[in-house]
Symmetry: C2
Subunit: 202 residues, 2 copies
Amino acid sequence: MKTTSCGKKSKGELTRDKIVAEAACLMHKKGFEATTINDLVKATGLKKGCLYFHFSGKDELSLAVLEKAKADFFAFLDSLLEGKTPGDCLNNLFRGMQDAQRDMGFSGGCIFGNTALEMGDKDENLAAFVRGVFDETTEKVRKVVKAAQVTGQARKDIAAGTLARHIVMAIEGGIMLTRLEKSEKPLKDCMDSLRTLIGLKK
Amino acid sequence: MKTTSCGKKSKGELTRDKIVAEAACLMHKKGFEATTINDLVKATGLKKGCLYFHFSGKDELSLAVLEKAKADFFAFLDSLLEGKTPGDCLNNLFRGMQDAQRDMGFSGGCIFGNTALEMGDKDENLAAFVRGVFDETTEKVRKVVKAAQVTGQARKDIAAGTLARHIVMAIEGGIMLTRLEKSEKPLKDCMDSLRTLIGLKK
């Protein structure tokens, strides 16, 4: 796909973006398998041929949806993991992930967790992609936990990598329950207990 | 549905059980929405009319599948939460949940977590049912954590209910990752960090 010389997106790119955005919305709501090319024709108002001009099929489109979600999520995660001290960064993370679910009306959950559950046993490409997202997330969190251990803001008797993995897992479970209950409480409790369990100090 | 006077299951009950078992298998593999009545006709070898004699439709059948899964899971959970001391019970829980995923070949995950993610926003009946399973599970774990706090086998600075909820959430997240990686490691790490985080003593 070519960008125009002035740096603006070409018409083709804008169409591609639109397809990905509509597919993301449908796949998040209905799941990957239940979303059909006909659903996309209806949602985008484009002809089937146009969809196939941009994507070879649902597999390529699903990956494009996840690529976009990953870029958005990492931009968000990086913004949360900023703060004066490593302890502040972790607090921002806990608070920010909680706020994000509330802002979504406790609906939809985590697209990577959803993909893991829907496609984890069925599609090795999507599973590998989501594994990569979780690994990269854990590594970003690990670095901050490690820094917090150095400044004495987190317990040191558990490896930073183990704590980071625990944080990621607990948050995934917390998002699941908060969505199921349509209430902030499970995720808030999850963040509060994470703070206590990792011995987070300001 | 009538049982015969000798206590054995009637032919009708056996047919019903067979439908639920095949539906459970299909729904666990394909998800609730993607499983059709035609899939069930194929899997059971029964006629459509026979399926509708036993179940008014997919909604009733989905609930029957979850009811059966709940009964099986609570029998399993209760067997794990037995031990000489409350600390032993918690260790059995961590070990048993880990072994169960390995025995399933790290495939399929947790049917209640899957249902929460697939149907949490779509079907209030199924969502309410799964919420009930998580609540009951948390309450069973809470009682054991409370007992472990009394015997000095678990930390006391966090309420037993909060610790229990954290355990349930972390295990759900751990099952998701262990299934995604097709490896025991994420869930084993999860259980190890849970032991340390709750200060579990033998």
